[in-house]
């Protein structure tokens, strides 16, 4: 495995330091919001890997979040399991579901895959309502608030913050290790030129399904970390709008980079609040217009735009680092089916 470049280590260290220090600098309710940022960032990372790196568009990852969130909730509420055990099981459950959906997705591409995954998202609240004896139906389920373990001098909220971000950090690290080597190269190759990739011996079924599975694991864990601070799950928590929001966050953050996932989490969490400040009467209009404007001026997302400015400042030709989009790339993500030859 190639040595990680020193610049990256510094950046990560600084980020970790900032994350660790934030609760002492910002007001306490903001710490609460930042827990959600961490949770969303984990899910968006899944999309970065699946859609950004592997070109499979998914409008249904909210369904995996629902699975994860409800697994944690059911185990805690009905069986009294501790949250960490619930999250572990949520990861396994969503991973298996993701592998299954990934297998189905092998046959689909572009707009057809988009619709199939969106169907999953749309159907999720119906399933949650239907199996009401397990899920609590429309009334949802309440969860106990988090307490720090004995001996730790933090209140429950601060403890949950650190746990969430520690888990996020670990997942980002594992994912980075996963995609640094052969796995990442295979994913990107399958995105950019599937025929060439297969000719070189890359097994598309294996890698594409695995990408789906891993992204589902991330989404499932994220769902658990959405349920825990809210201390409540209901079908309303996991509507199809959630899946759309995840994609929005991923693209606005920068769908091709891990940092984009982090920025995406911040965007999803705070953009609605900012939109309300701008105009409380019609926050939707502000939100919608904001999306359009960001895409017009930063089509590669915020991180993409930042990277591009850095390259321009350095006046060096942009290094085609594997996970940086080059400005003249022609549609690396194919949303439409290829035309017949």
């Amino acid at each position: 495995m190639p040595r990680p470049d020193a610049g990256l280590v510094v950046r990560v260290a600084v980020a970790a330091a900032v994350v660790a220090a934030l609760p002492w600098i910002v007001p306490s309710f903001l710490v609460f919001d930042l827990i959600y940022v961490g949770a969303y960032a984990i899910a968006i990372l899944g999309l970065v890997i699946l859609t950004g790196m592997n070109g499979q568009i998914s409008l249904g990852h909210g369904a995996f979040m629902a699975l994860g969130g409800y697994v944690v909730a059911i185990l805690a509420h009905s069986l009294g399991w501790p949250y960490w055990a619930g999250v572990l099981l949520a990861a396994v459950a969503s991973g298996l579901a993701g592998l299954f959906i990934g297998l189905v997705a092998l046959r689909l591409a572009g707009v057809y895959l988009a619709l199939a995954t969106f169907s999953l998202a749309v159907a999720t609240p119906s399933f949650l309502k239907h199996y009401k004896s397990i899920t609590g139906g429309f009334g949802g389920m309440s969860l106990a608030p988090v307490q720090a373990p004995p001996g730790v001098p933090l209140d429950g909220q601060h403890w949950l913050y650190y746990v969430t971000w520690a888990v996020a950090g670990a997942l980002f690290l594992i994912s980075a290790l996963l995609v640094r080597g052969k796995f990442g190269r295979a994913l990107r190759a399958l995105r950019d030129n599937p025929i060439a990739a297969v000719s070189f011996g890359v097994n598309p079924y294996f890698y594409k399904t695995l990408a789906f599975g891993w992204s589902a694991v991330l989404a499932g864990i994220s769902g658990g970390f959405l349920a825990i601070p809210t201390a409540f799950v209901s079908p309303d928590t996991f509507t199809s709008a959630l899946s759309i929001t995840l994609l929005i966050g991923a693209v606005l953050g920068g769908i091709s980079t891990f940092w984009g996932a982090l920025v995406g989490g911040i965007v999803i969490e705070f953009l609605p609040l900012v939109a309300q400040q701008v105009n409380a009467a019609a926050p939707s209009v502000v939100y919608g217009v904001a999306l359009i404007l960001v895409m017009m001026f930063l089509p590669d997302g915020i991180v993409g735009g930042v990277l591009r400015s850095i390259h321009r400042l350095r006046r060096a030709p942009p290094q085609p680092a594997l996970d940086t989009p080059t400005p003249s790339s022609t549609t690396p993500i194919t949303v439409s089916p290829q035309p017949r030859e």
Partner: protein, 293 residues
């Protein structure tokens, strides 16, 4: 037996609604190769414009024509102003822009016209009709007739006219089309305009049945997408057939299969569509492409 027929016809009636909107989606896809998530909200907005014109005293047929024309112009403008800057970028960027339009149009309609559900005037008589014990309304028939007529016009346009051919070429092979002298940018704008116009027609036909409010299209659009994809996203015939089939299947599943009931109707229908797609990845009427990896 009568109630089975009634359910079937109810399904056809709902299916007509999906088909109508699915045609707009196919329209935009054939001419731009983009999914436009905002198609339903644009159609809803156009319907409100028609409503407003009717409130201001315009006779219904004039409000209808004016709205279709306004929507066409609006669609062209939207493409030129909002979509053109991001055309060359990643396709996902366009998806996000269309989502932004979806959210913005929904909020705007609520801001301008509020959320009280309104009735929408219909040119068809409101007296109920009956054939063989099956009850339906003239509006239901009207929706289906208009969908079929629109389908015919769209198919003719794309298959038989030079302009239609140019538009399809521009969407499929933009670089080669430029070489041939086709003004790709304006073809795309035209596509948006026509799709917006078809959307306006759908909205005006659907509103008397589902009633007018800013969220009117949100339930329809999911079914419309499913219908369009089921039929093959580039096939207008597929959109109509897909819509009608979807409407009937959903109704029958929900009414007669107990464990599905009404709750899992939509989920069941979507599951069926996914199964169909796995077997025929291009949809029922879609062109089968060479199976890539």
């Amino acid at each position: 037996m009568e109630s089975l027929l009634q359910q079937v016809f109810s399904g056809i009636a709902n299916g007509g609604i999906y088909a109508c909107m699915a045609l707009a989606l196919v329209m935009i896809y054939q001419s731009t190769h983009h999914i436009n998530f905002a198609q339903g909200e644009m159609a809803m907005f156009s319907t409100f414009v028609a409503w407003q014109l009717a409130q201001m005293g315009l006779p219904l047929w004039l409000a209808f024509l004016a709205t279709v024309a306004i929507s066409f112009g609006g669609g062209v403008l939207l493409e030129r102003i909002v979509i053109r800057p991001v055309e060359r970028a990643n396709q996902l960027t366009v998806v996000i822009v269309s989502l932004g339009l979806f959210i913005a149009f929904n909020g705007l309609a609520g801001l301008f016209w509020g959320y009280i559900v309104k009735s929408f005037p219909t040119p068809f008589p409101t007296t109920p009709l009956q054939i063989g014990g099956v009850a339906f309304s003239a509006q239901d028939v009207g929706v289906i007739v208009v969908s079929v007529v629109t389908l015919g016009l769209i198919s003719l346009f794309f298959q038989k006219t030079k302009l239609g051919l140019a538009m399809r070429a521009a969407a499929l092979y933009p670089e080669q089309s430029r070489v041939l002298g086709i003004r790709v940018g304006w073809m795309l704008a035209l596509g948006w305009g026509l799709a917006a116009a078809v959307g306006a027609i759908s909205g005006i036909m659907i509103a008397p049945i589902v009633f007018l409010d800013p969220n009117m299209m949100q339930s329809v659009i999911v079914y419309a997408f499913a219908a369009a994809v089921l039929g093959g996203i580039e096939s207008p015939i597929g959109a109509v057939v897909g819509g009608l089939v979807l409407g009937v299947v959903i109704n029958l599943l929900g009414t007669y299969v107990d464990w599905i009931g009404n709750e899992l109707r939509l989920a069941a229908a979507l599951a069926i569509i996914v199964v169909v797609l796995v077997v025929r990845p291009a949809g029922l009427f879609g062109r089968v492409t060479v199976q890539r990896v």
